[in-house]
Subunit: 161 residues, 2 copies
């Protein structure tokens, strides 16, 4: 059975489907309770004034089956913005239909339109099937760099001087 997969930018009203897929992805990532985002917070940040976070939804048979949520990063080396893919999700029952590839192709076109030289993202180090898929696209691990984070009480302390 072949089902046509289409991709479109999200619009106001998509926040329930976006949140559903964010929670499903967090569950897959073994952090089902990590999601503090709400439909209201997504709506305000994604569909309000001057949004700085964006998404594309993949649909099959008129139903949302995949999500790519992204923002613009910046490289001082290239001197250009790039696309940073924060979340990529495909519904389990819609896997092996090319949904993830179709979403990535839409992001590549978005990058080209915006003059972006790169798409960056992060993958959990146990997620080998995802790495195989990324390698097949021609992507590579950015070796040599370690992600670091400051948050919570340490961040508050630093702000307070």
């Amino acid at each position: 059975m072949s089902v046509a997969v289409t991709v479109r930018p999200t619009v106001d009203g998509d926040e329930a489907e976006i949140l559903r897929m964010i929670v499903a992805l967090a569950t897959f990532e073994r952090e089902p309770d990590a999601v503090k985002a709400t439909e209201e917070s997504l709506r305000a940040l994604m569909f309000g004034d001057d949004p700085k976070v964006f998404a594309h939804i993949a649909e099959a048979d008129g139903r949302a089956v995949g999500l790519a949520l992204w923002f613009l990063n910046f490289s001082t080396w290239t001197g250009r913005h790039g696309l940073y893919l924060e979340d990529l999700f495909v519904d389990p029952e819609a896997r092996r239909m090319g949904v993830a590839r179709t979403l990535f192709a839409a992001l590549a076109q978005e990058a080209a339109r915006r003059g972006c030289a790169r798409i960056d993202w992060a993958v959990l180090d146990w997620n080998k099937p995802a790495m195989d898929f990324y390698r097949a696209l021609g992507a590579a691990r950015s070796s040599g760099w370690q992600p670091w984070r400051l948050d919570g009480a340490a961040l508050d302390r630093l702000a307070d001087g």
Copy 2:
């Protein structure tokens, strides 16, 4: 000798100093020829309409001695924007004066103002002195995640379908 270090957001006209420190950082990172950014490209993206990349400059004795260049990222788990620190640089002759800490404190205050829950960045895996400094701030490595990238011909191919 004690020298007062102050930090301010960058303004139109700072692009030459910003580029100087970007190039100095790339040289320290062993990639002196990697910088394709120009004063013009920085000026257009940082001081034009609706900028999505920002920086703070540290000054001592009226001279720029440090740079923190950043943009807003987004976490679907927190549902909030965060600050992503793309470049942090301190002039060699201005080290051990608290410049990096003063820059980080300014970013923490910027994060608080914007309701951001986190500051994220990446460090080269051989840069132990930087890691010691980050640990002293209360930051930690975001273990378990691998950075990946798609660019060049593979990105173009995907955009072309």
